[in-house]
Symmetry: C2
Subunit: 572 residues, 2 copies
């Protein structure tokens, strides 16, 4: 593509509502234009990248045996009433009445529609399994759309739905999609992790999220660099320390700690590391446990994991922290000075605490702590549970190394829905015995438009976007210095452009009559991964300058070699 | 694609709500599934055809220099208020409020959105012209959706919008699109006509519709088989007869015609052809003409064209037919017995009437007519105008032959919008003199999903669809008789499939374990243009059977030749 026949529209400044770097760069590079909050027009440059992502997604879905369909955006309310989501879904579901006063939704997801197709068209186990997918524009009325295409209201998704005659077959397809998603994100050139995830509101059991690793991600992920283990921090198991609990060596000593409320203050006051302290968190017990408070103990530097605490038998559901008055009544002291010593109620220790000795806790007396606290000696052995978030350096639950923590942006999600929707919508087949049976179902989503934002969050520098080769709007930028003025430059640029095009490479010939500095800056901003600068001075020596978008410096290449070199880099 | 890895779902009967053949066949062949009135899921087979049409549209739009974008379906009301269409558009515009109670529409068209992008991004004449297009899903809340995808509520359109610094440049691009649309519909293998059209509600001046010719079309089109002239019947000019008016030869004679009201009754009663009669139609004159009735004269077999009659000076706007009481007062007789003889008011004759002699008209006396009526002798020479619809056999207005009448399905439309939207939305540029100027604008639509219905209306038979090669979901059907049972058949079928695939041909290998009759019927129904049947009997002689979907009989081809023959047919 020649710039003169294209439409570039770069900006010096990002608009003030752009908070994250990908949103800023997408606006500055002119990939998208804002139409309304969370609603964007895909401009020619952005659309090229979007289409490349779509094409890779389609190729791999087809290769995996899924069959493409295209379902309507507008869906009748009846199906949502049948599945129960009409009442369950919140205001992010856009509802409207048509001119005949019938209720419709603009679909944020298509479980109901595809299940309706399948229940009418598939009758026999011989027709199963089937996996249908689509690449389609969806609408979700986010209360606070932001981050550009990463949390927009109108967005492009790949959503696939598979139907099976048995749970075993669903698991086979789930694994197939797990592998397919790896192929897709690898081909896109993204650093990512498949993460064991909670199933969220979409329902069902068994799911993985696929996260693009980026410092600016919204989710904390624990992963093992030495294996493929990864999980949301909320879900990652914190193993018990390998070393057994040391023997007690210090005497229990009450210390006056005036005004000391937090672990940081305590550690500073006692000149001890936070790892030598234990914090006490009081939550309400459930009715069966007489509504009595439960004392949870965590090492001072650890964070309570509420999902895990919730799962402790006898703890009130949903988890609630004990009211100050209840704490005072139960412990005789206020939060900040609590501990297990002398407490007659129920105590649950985190696994790490269970392996500690000679630690510090509150003394159940305001402004006092104990040092030299030891389990079994100073308070009874208590229940042990995994109560905390994992931290970097924790052993990986798969036993293959230690965990790291990173942040991720969710770009894919696979679920074993099982029979949730099939049951609600009465989606049955005749099994080999001729009996009616509810289908097993999986669903598999990729946030196609979101991938572009995530890719930029992961790949950018002060000068702009750095596209991975596979999704770059253009693979190579040819930047002539003086295309209009120098015939030699023009001839060399046109020849290289023709050669790259003939090799099937998406080249961008920037033939605009702009200042050299502006041409170079624009081409860096829009992130084309390979660049060839052609100038009169170099041509006199028979060379042009090649620079990869991540390279610190340009390399001189003989005019005769440049096409082959660039082609080798892209196809190699 | 192998049938076993695909999803075919053919029906014996079309659903009862399918009125036209394309809708019936699309449902029976399983191209689409109904979700709600006018809202369909594109099933795998239908989506393949849709994608092929989209691809050809994109290739030709890109070749013509248009640049692809993707605009949002959801649009803020403000833009529609600014253009004035918020009030102007009827209930087919789907409006809704988002969760913050702001007004939005689901866009049936995108003039406002693209003009908003352009007014913010394009400032100089140097950036013009620009033509942006998209292939996008639209929603129009039709009061009575019908004919399947031909008049659906959710549908896929290609809509393009061009911006220019002068009317001349708009005209150049309009011609470019006129030619591009010809290339597109030719490549799709459709019989079509570009038709000079009224501009309809989208506004502006100068437009052509592109109609696929089909007996079942909703529009009447007059065209000249010997030139590229074509127009909606309402707009085609009826030329004056070439031959001059003959001299009067019959005497004016009053005839008693009891109970004769219509031209058919009159012609039967007098044993004369309708072409020898003249009918009298009385319309209201406008205020400037004193509201007096105007008598329009047409040859008995011709139809009044109300658009043309409307344009006669002095005729009331909009056209209204005179009330019975006013007719009686002015003529002394009732409709069915009216004529110009003795009428003192204004008379306008159609061009054909002006060249007639010795004709029959009403006598302005109930149940009486005159025969032998002659202009100038029996009533004064009157004004002459083009008042009628053209009929088959009329001379073509371009002077290149005679007109034929056919029916068409509108699948494309190009408009010169001029400054209608640019003015309303204040879309300006700086011209060469550095002065602000409103842009000139064109818009160009193709009903992408409608094309499939139109193609089937044009190409079908009792056995099903007959796809043009270019948009067929599969180009070649390989139908083995006994794929599961015969190793020879399986081997030959697999080999042919591999050979066609290697040649880049979309082959469909129907490896389903069904009865031969059912396999053959399905493959005819779904309309694959080329079919190769492979059976044990033929293989023993070294032959397979080739049959084009329109061929009356199959042809035996040597196994060794079949791939090359099919490839030649498709690529030839």
């Amino acid at each position: 593509m020649r710039a003169s026949q294209f439409f570039l529209s770069t900006l010096k400044e990002a608009p003030s509502d752009a908070e994250v770097i990908s949103h800023k760069l997408m606006m500055r590079a002119g990939l998208i234009k804002r139409l309304a909050g969370g609603i964007y027009t895909w401009m020619p440059l952005g659309l090229r990248a979007l289409r490349k992502v779509e094409a890779i997604v389609r190729e791999e879905m087809n290769r995996a045996g899924a069959i493409e369909v295209l379902m309507p955006a507008v869906q009748p309310a009846e199906l949502w009433q049948e599945s129960g989501r009409w009442d369950f879904y919140g205001p992010e579901l856009l509802r409207f009445k048509d001119r005949h006063d019938r209720d419709f939704v603009v679909g944020p997801t298509h479980e109901e529609v595809i299940t309706d197709v399948v229940r009418r068209d598939l009758r026999s186990y011989r027709q199963l399994p089937k996996h249908f997918y689509q690449v389609q524009t969806k609408f979700r009325d986010e209360i606070r759309p932001r981050f550009g295409v990463m949390r927009g209201r109108e967005f492009v998704m790949k959503d696939g739905y598979s139907f099976h005659s048995s749970f075993e077959d669903l698991q086979r397809e789930y694994r197939n999609m797990y592998d397919t998603y790896h192929r897709i994100f690898n081909r896109l050139g993204l650093k990512f992790r498949a993460v064991a995830a909670d199933t969220g509101s979409i329902g069902g059991t068994g799911s993985h999220e696929f996260h693009v690793i980026a410092e600016t991600g919204e989710d904390d992920i624990a992963y093992c660099p030495d294996s493929d283990y990864a999980a949301n921090v909320e879900l990652a198991e914190a193993l018990a320390p390998a070393a057994p609990r040391p023997a007690a060596s210090a005497a229990l000593t009450k210390v006056h700690t005036p005004g000391v409320k937090t672990i940081d203050e305590l550690a500073a006051f006692l000149k001890l590391p936070a790892t030598a302290t234990v914090k006490a968190i009081v939550v309400d017990g459930d009715e069966a446990a007489g509504n009595k408070p439960v004392l949870l103990l965590l090492r001072g530097d650890h964070e309570l994991n509420e999902v895990k605490a919730q799962k402790v038998a006898g703890v009130k559901n949903p988890l609630t922290f004990a009211a100050p008055a209840d704490i005072l009544a139960a412990f005789g002291a206020n939060a900040g000075s609590l501990g297990p010593v002398g407490f007659a109620g129920r105590v649950v220790m985190d696994r790490t605490v269970a392996a500690m000795a000679d630690f510090v806790t509150g003394a159940n007396e305001d402004d006092h702590h104990y040092t030299g606290v030891n389990i079994g000696r100073d308070f009874p052995e208590a229940e042990v549970a995994d109560l905390r978030n994992v931290v970097a350096g924790d052993p990986s639950p798969d036993g293959k190394g230690t965990l790291e923590i990173c942040r991720g942006i969710e770009v894919g999600h696979i679920f074993q829905l099982r029979t949730k929707y099939a049951e609600a919508l009465n989606c049955k087949f005749l099994n080999e015995q001729g009996k009616e049976q509810i289908m097993e179902m999986g669903c598999y989503g990729i946030g196609v438009s979101r991938i572009l934002g995530a890719a930029i969050e992961q790949n950018n520098d002060a000068r702009g976007i750095i596209w991975p080769d596979a999704m770059a709007p253009f693979q190579v930028a040819i930047v002539p210095m003086g295309y209009a003025k120098s015939e030699a430059v023009r001839t060399a640029a046109d020849a290289l452009y023709a050669e790259l095009q003939a090799a099937g490479i998406d080249a961008f010939l920037d033939d605009r009559d702009e200042r050299p500095g502006s041409l170079l800056a624009d081409n860096e901003l829009i992130g084309t991964p390979h660049r060839v600068v052609i100038g009169d001075r170099g041509l006199k020596e028979g060379v042009v300058e090649y620079q990869g978008r991540r390279d610190a410096e340009a390399t001189k290449l003989a005019v005769a070699d440049v096409a082959a070199t660039v082609i080798a880099k892209l196809k190699g």
